[in-house]
Symmetry: C2
Subunit: 184 residues, 2 copies
DNA sequence: CTACAATACTAACGAACGTTAAGTAAAGGA
DNA sequence: TCCTTTACTTAACGTTCGTTAGTATTGTAG
């Protein structure tokens, strides 16, 4: 029965349900059924539905973001960003669903104010971080700020395509688009 | 009491609720309360909850898209796209919420398979349409396809920023980003 | 004035929800 | 051997949900 830690299994199934049916569309009963455990076991490991959801965003999603943000970068900036996006294609299904859920909260389609505040803080860190990465490569351009902004916007859509819409983006298409922005 | 058509008022309040709380988080009772009518009146004008939601997407959202897509275009392509995006800032609150709901369905965060299919069809029409618009302006470039794709991706993020995240995007920032892609 | 449709309401249905009370089974240290 | 802790169960609580049956009110055409 306890092939895997039950607490973990509950979370995995919960990700599935929250992703497919949304917070309000997800029921503890259905999670318990899929986990093949009794209903109160969910409450044994998690205080309530909201805490289960929060743990997924706060731990799973932000861990994913941090792991992704700490990727080593190559000296070729276009290679770096291409790889950064392309690797999302091979994220595990679980990670993709966690990511998807996170974006849902990021777009304020779900979650409460507390989670939204976490997202806002994260968002504020995005532009400066990429500006730092791109700084050495954008020395002799006058519209550096706009280029960074455009690139970040472009990255966002590509992430959404892969993670949210579950599309496969080929490496050369990613490279083409990034090049268009960075070689302007 | 009947200052405005009740059927219409129900739909307006429904947009508000679906937008804020999602499909499953929205209750007919709360809609009725905000409309200040009795609960069964909702069922008098709409078959059920799903039909109310569907009408918002099928009629309101797609009308909005069509209206937007039929905008007259200027001879300057950068002006055209800048205006196209910038004008979203001054969409009415109701239209913004309808748009937001539509994007939610577009990203398959909500709605059933039928609605998703409508979205897929719409999505397929996007690239060819912009390719047609851009064709005369991208004659002597070899990566025309990639540029169109990049532009559409960029437009998507800007739309999301304005409509979904409810940010104000200044005209010059929009113009800068579009120029970066189109002048490459 | 009357009859009949359209519009509105009160009240309630059964089902499903989040959550918890209360108890059992197993395990491990004293 | 007893006792405490951990892991788990059945059963039920009260609430709210979508939906509808049944009835009253209103507007209007004859």
């Amino acid at each position: 029965m306890t092939e895997k830690d039950l607490r973990e299994r509950i979370k995995e199934v919960a990700v599935e349900h929250f992703d497919t049916n949304g917070y309000h569309g997800t029921t503890i009963r259905n999670i318990a059924k899929d986990v093949n455990c009794s209903l109160p076991m969910i409450y044994y490991y998690y205080k309530n539905k909201k805490e289960l959801f929060d743990e997924i965003i706060k731990k799973e999603f932000f861990n994913l973001l941090k792991k992704q943000a700490s990727l080593l970068k190559t000296d070729n900036i276009i290679d770096f960003y291409t790889k950064f996006i392309f690797d999302l294609n091979s994220l595990s299904n679980y990670d993709k669903k966690v990511y998807r859920l996170g974006i849902k909260v990021y777009l304020s389609f779900e979650g409460d104010e507390e989670l939204m505040k976490l997202m806002d803080e994260w968002e504020k860190s995005i532009l400066p971080r990429h500006r730092e990465i791109l700084k050495p490569h954008l020395k002799n351009v006058n519209n550096e700020k706009a280029i960074v902004r455009t690139l970040v916007h472009l990255l966002e859509t590509m992430i959404e395509n892969i993670v949210v819409k579950n599309r496969y983006l080929p490496e050369d298409e990613i490279r083409e688009e990034i090049s268009i922005v960075l070689k302007s």
